[in-house]
Symmetry: C2
Amino acid sequence: MKMSTKGRYGLRAMIELASHGGETPVPLSVIARSEEISERYLEQLMTKMKKADLITSCRGSTGGYCLARDAADISVGDILRAVEGNLNPVDCSVDSEAACENSGVCVAKYVWQKVNESINQAVDGISLAELVAKIPENEEKQPGAVCACQK
Amino acid sequence: MKMSTKGRYGLRAMIELASHGGETPVPLSVIARSEEISERYLEQLMTKMKKADLITSCRGSTGGYCLARDAADISVGDILRAVEGNLNPVDCSVDSEAACENSGVCVAKYVWQKVNESINQAVDGISLAELVAKIPENEEKQPGAVCACQK
DNA sequence: AAGAAATACTACTAAATCGATAGGATATAA
DNA sequence: TTATATCCTATCGATTTAGTAGTATTTCTT
């Protein structure tokens, strides 16, 4: 039951992005360098977060990524589900397609549903803004601001 | 963030074992057959659960496995941690050895700690006895009883 | 005493997943 | 026109997962 680098990198990248204030797009290279993440790999994660409408992007010179909305309106759950897929520990507990033939009488399923609920509750209860506010020494610039680039 | 077969099989095997009442040891072959799990693979999981003092075993003919204590005193968390290792989604959040050099100022760590707590709380809040009681049609026999074999 | 049935222990292996890397194509500002 | 970005797709080595395999040992039954 480990969180993969997708979730770990994705969260860190979003924290980094949010802490840049949002006035101008932040290039991938900046995020990757300061978080020490492979640029090429992080790019794939950014694509997922863009598809999930958590960030926007601008191409070309002076391009980069921006938060798609206020950091207070982006939860850690939004981020993790965007890059990791759903957070259910066992698919059959939620997805009716993945359910086995014993689904109706399966007692274990009860466990997986409880775990699933508690994980999602935990991550949905933390906003990106909250995390940025925790960064020591006022490293953050304008946590709440949304980037001028709206693409 | 998926639970592996270790956790899934381990839990099912324990439910099956607990539902046998506990008067006589239950052979691995019986559990494996009724849960449709590879006998050889399940054996390795049983070894882990034995090391965690959740079950006892008797060798030889008429041998098998028994719960080491009352099903009410075995939590799902006990079982999952026995077969999966710790349930922390990210090691650095708990294990100080695994902590990175940024551990002191890491904001992401706060997230992983919260998730860790919520997962463990969820699984520790469910007992094996509770699950056996949920089995429909009185398939269970004597949930609370502990096996005569104490080895 | 022999045989059957069970756990105990250790090593190996095929398949899937993870964590990247690679090579371009396309867009945009200076 | 050039430098600097994102976008898209494919590939690939390493690790982990899930399961096999072989053998030893213990215990009950006959």
